[in-house]
Amino acid sequence: MDENSLYNTIIVNRSRAPLHAGVVERATRLGQGTNPLCGDRVRLSVRTEKEEIENLLHETRGCAICIASTDLMAEAVTGRTVADALDLARQFTDMLENGSSMVETADAAMPDALRAFLPLRTHRSRLRCATLPWTALEEALDHD
């Protein structure tokens, strides 16, 4: 069915069986994002070591887009520095909200998996579902 372009295999699979669900032991930072509109809630636990994200797990209640986005985010930021991850958060949000030109200029920093959310740009009411984990990430990393 033609919704494949939005709900592609990776999004559907990750939403049904996330690879990074759980709670990090000895987490150094926590973050939470909620969308009161739909009740989605993302909880992040992060262990950083010398400004590098060693491990990040999530407990997410929400729609497929939200769960998949959180899971793919976890994958994308693990191993990055805090500064790098925050950069990516801004780029991701920018890509969806402002349709930044990044799409065309294959930005090296933007993992392909995250580009799976591009079709959301024509479903603006769902943008929050994809950006919610990144808001939670900002909360976790900004407040230390």
Partner: protein
């Protein structure tokens, strides 16, 4: 009638749909299937054209103008009031107050009538209220120290009448405010009974008719209600216009809500006195063109007739409950005794937002979320549902398209 309602509608329907040009739009390349009328209905040509015609040929500010255009505008505006009074079966046309929407109508009552309720008295709402009939009473509670009581619902989604009776029993309830039809469950509440029981303990009662007036004939005098509210845009009318009906003696006794032009009798810096009803509650320039548009919408609805409307919606709802119950994994939320053309559902653990987006990509518009009824969702143990709602222009075929698309969505997810 020698033919049944649904026959009438099937005969009429193509004609009806032609009056809604928006319904022949395509969405994501698919024919639009608009099943979100409970959020806001589409408007027939005659409403759109009537509003445009007024602005093109007979418009000016009302009431205070002594000139021809102003008199024509005033006449049209006041004729709409008369029309709405007839529609609701009100005894006096002065009992109809034009507001912004249903929400403002309820807030008006909460501020104005609410100021006549004493601390120690209570307001009684139900577990299935729309936020519009909940938050204003919370704000009143927090402002004025008035108790807020909540009547529970049964698991089938009906109001729990025993509990309702118990909550009324101590005689402290000054005002009951309950929906006449739930926008989530479709439940049509037993208004007659609720009103009788409220009156038996000396409480006044407000019915939120935002959904109900669309589906059934309402007669406030026959119901013996005290306050009744509805909103224009759900009744095939324009946005920006709503209605508060209340008994004359209540409106007479209530202080004004907003101050401004047209609601005064005289003004000095020291003191103002208020105009008679309904002007007392209509401060400033009203939504003149929208009021006229609502009048036209009501003419249009009455020309179809509530017998035909109710029959059409009953048939559609029955059909929908049938075909949806056959979709694997789908659960309809609530089995109320009497219901209007609104059906909430969930499907396995496919999130309602994903359902809505996937339906949308197939041209089908449904709503998903908490439907401005968070506490009800909590009561139901849900965070969200998907909701399909029907109007006079909805067809059986559209419901079949919904059901078959839901099947495909499920296959896709499970």
């Amino acid at each position: 009638m020698s033919v049944s309602g649904s026959e009438i509608i099937s005969a009429d329907l193509s004609g009806l749909r032609a009056q809604f040009p928006i319904l022949s739009q395509k969405v994501h390349g698919k024919p639009l299937v608009f099943l979100d009328s409970a959020a806001s209905a589409q408007k027939p040509d005659v409403v759109i054209d009537g509003m445009a015609r007024m602005m093109r040929s007979q418009y000016a500010n009302i009431h205070r103008g002594l000139h021809w255009m102003s008199e024509r505008s005033t006449e049209a505006y006041e004729a709409a009031r008369t029309r709405i009074a007839e529609f609701l079966g009100a005894e006096f046309r002065e009992e109809i107050v034009f507001t912004h929407n249903s929400t403002e109508a309820i807030n008006l009552v909460a501020y104005s009538y609410g100021s006549l309720i004493n601390p120690g008295q209570a307001v009684l709402i139900s577990e299935m209220e729309h936020h519009a009939n909940l938050v204003p009473w919370q704000m009143l509670r927090d402002r004025a120290g008035i108790e807020l009581r909540v009547a529970p619902i049964t698991d089938s989604g009906d109001l729990d009448l025993d509990a309702y009776g118990e909550l009324l029993a101590d005689g402290k309830v000054a005002l009951v405010a309950i929906t006449h039809m739930s926008n989530v469950l479709g439940t049509i509440t037993p208004a007659h009974r609720l009103i009788e029981m409220a009156h038996a303990v000396g409480a006044k009662i407000l019915l939120d008719g935002s959904q109900a007036v669309v589906h059934r004939r309402v007669n406030v005098r026959e119901l013996d209600a005290d306050f009744y509210t509805f909103t224009g845009h759900k009744l095939y009318g324009p946005t920006g216009i709503g209605i508060l009906w209340a008994r004359r003696e209540l409106l007479d006794a209530m202080p004004p809500f907003m101050g401004g032009g047209d609601m005064i009798s005289s003004v000095t810096f020291e003191k103002s006195t208020w105009a008679p009803i309904p002007a007392k509650f209509e401060a400033g320039t009203p939504a003149i063109v929208e009021a006229v548009g609502l009048g036209i919408a009501i003419d249009w609805v009455e020309a179809i007739g509530f017998d035909a409307i109710a029959a059409h919606e009953a048939a559609l709802t029955k059909h929908a409950l049938n075909v949806l119950s056959e979709v694997p994994g789908l659960s309809v939320v609530g089995q109320p005794r009497h219901r209007g053309g609104v059906i909430s559902f969930t499907m396995d653990d496919v999130h309602p937002h994903d359902i809505a987006t996937l339906l949308d990509r197939n041209g089908i518009a449904v709503r998903a979320g908490h439907h401005c009824a968070e506490p009800l969702m909590r009561r139901l143990g849900l965070t969200a549902t998907a909701r399909a709602s029907f109007a006079v222009y909805t067809t059986e075929h559209e419901i079949d398209v919904l059901a078959s698309t839901l099947r495909r969505i499920r296959q896709f997810f499970v």
